[in-house]
Chain length 280, copies 2
């Protein structure tokens, strides 16, 4: 894999880490960055994350042969629709958004022939934000889900796959809707639950929290606007996941109400069994 | 604070850490340990955590001037009722259980005069179990809630307070029922929610989890029998906390169903605001 000019749209934690990793691994000859904030453009230029910095994706897209869009999911649809038609033939566009079907649908039929979009979702991140936390190893051994649809060519799929593998990631391919249903359970619902647990804590009890509460609610510190976009672009799957959680909570409620030791312990044992299958 | 003979009943992670911390800080002349498992008695003796090891608390209690009961909450009520009446005048008994009102109530009127029980709950721990993980610094700068009731003397309350402070902890005093209501929200409900999130994850999605899921469900790896005891001895408060969580989830559901960006973002912002008040 060799990119002449890589365009990174949205140079925050993810975009900044892509730029730094691409630089360190010699993946691209030239890296262009897009940030709407002047302070971010200045930082990414001065720190050497990017070679040139622009305020809008339309400014750099015509020079790129590979572009990755890392803005929040609703913004990246807008950015792709604005900049995509300006790309030159052969350019592959991908993204790093947390939901996929809405992006793929929004772009259907909107790109010039010989310009292709293939969705990606790196399962990497942090509650930290911004390019000052950019980490060249953020993707090493992490999973990136790449979501081809019916119209995706082998060439575009292979370039997207090799792009992430060149940054150290493992790649798994999955249809966009299947990705969205899976991530509703593995990512979006946990965020919703963590936020709910934090949101109902009375302020006077903050001092009585210990590591359990802190771990369980850590992701609730994530950006409300980013997560609102994620929830809104995956509503049906998040609601279906919420159905499952609410049903499970009703099981706990009824075992508690009945003071049923066996059922309580079985519910907890099932949760422990699944959790123990994960690495710490 | 100076203890001649300290009895630690239940030498697991918490009891083992108490023994190790008491030893390192020269808090007690002699440490007696109680473990029902022969292998634990052997380990705690050979590793020097305790000077003598017994199978039941009744065997060591008459020689102790301070005793701390660290078995799971239902077991420790049994242990306190069995061993407490054998303690000599002046002995102070405390515990490390996660719920307090049920323990205080179970002991009311059951102890000899001049033997006193004062409830304690160290907000320290880990999903790790057993004395092999004993850590002399487990309580350093951690909060221990001490729960006097109407009958508690100043002497017993002071000895209990100084005991934990000698291990490096900060102590806060609170009535037992108030403790239980607070911990239902800061500890028991997060455990229940983490277990529910882990329990509903289909096995084929385990590979699609990232750090967010792992953090949020980490405590679900805790012992099902220990947590069943905690839930059962704090049923009313856990059910009240569950009411609050379910109401919050209904707020999320309705904002999602209505595709109401403003309400979703406000709910998430409230969760973030509270979470940001905690240290990472």
């Amino acid at each position: 894999m060799r990119i002449q000019t890589l365009l990174v749209v949205g140079v925050g934690l993810i975009g900044g880490s892509i730029a730094r990793a691409a630089r360190q691994r010699g993946l691209a000859d030239r890296i262009l960055g897009v940030s709407h904030r002047p302070s971010t453009r200045q930082f990414t230029l001065e720190s050497g994350l990017v070679d040139e910095a622009f305020a809008t994706p339309a400014e750099g897209i015509a020079r790129a042969d590979f572009a990755v869009f890392c803005t929040p999911v609703e913004q990246l649809i807008t950015d792709l629709l604005t900049a995509g038609p300006l790309a030159r033939p052969g350019t592959v566009l991908t993204d790093a958004g947390s939901t996929k079907a809405s992006v793929v649908e929004a772009l259907a039929g909107k790109l010039p022939s010989q310009v292709e979009f293939v969705g990606s979702h790196p399962l990497a991140g942090s509650e930290k934000q911004g390019p000052t936390h950019a980490d060249a190893d953020l993707f090493v051994n992490r999973l990136v889900i790449v979501t081809p649809d019916g119209g995706t060519t082998e060439r575009a799929l292979n370039r997207t796959t090799k792009f992430w593998e060149s940054l150290g990631a493992r790649v798994r391919r999955m249809p966009p809707a299947e990705h969205d249903r899976a991530l509703a359970l593995t990512s979006h619902l946990p965020h919703l639950a963590a936020s709910a647990l934090a949101g109902i804590l009375p302020p006077e009890l903050v001092d009585l929290t210990a590591t359990g509460f802190r771990d369980t609610t850590r992701i609730a510190a994530g950006s409300p606007s980013v997560w609102t976009s994620i929830f809104q672009t995956n509503r049906a799957a998040v609601l279906a996941a919420l159905d499952l959680l609410e049903a499970r909570l009703r099981d706990f409620r009824s075992a508690l109400t009945d003071d049923d030791r066996q059922r309580l312990e079985r519910l907890l044992a099932e949760g422990k069994e699944r959790r123990d299958q994960l690495t710490p």
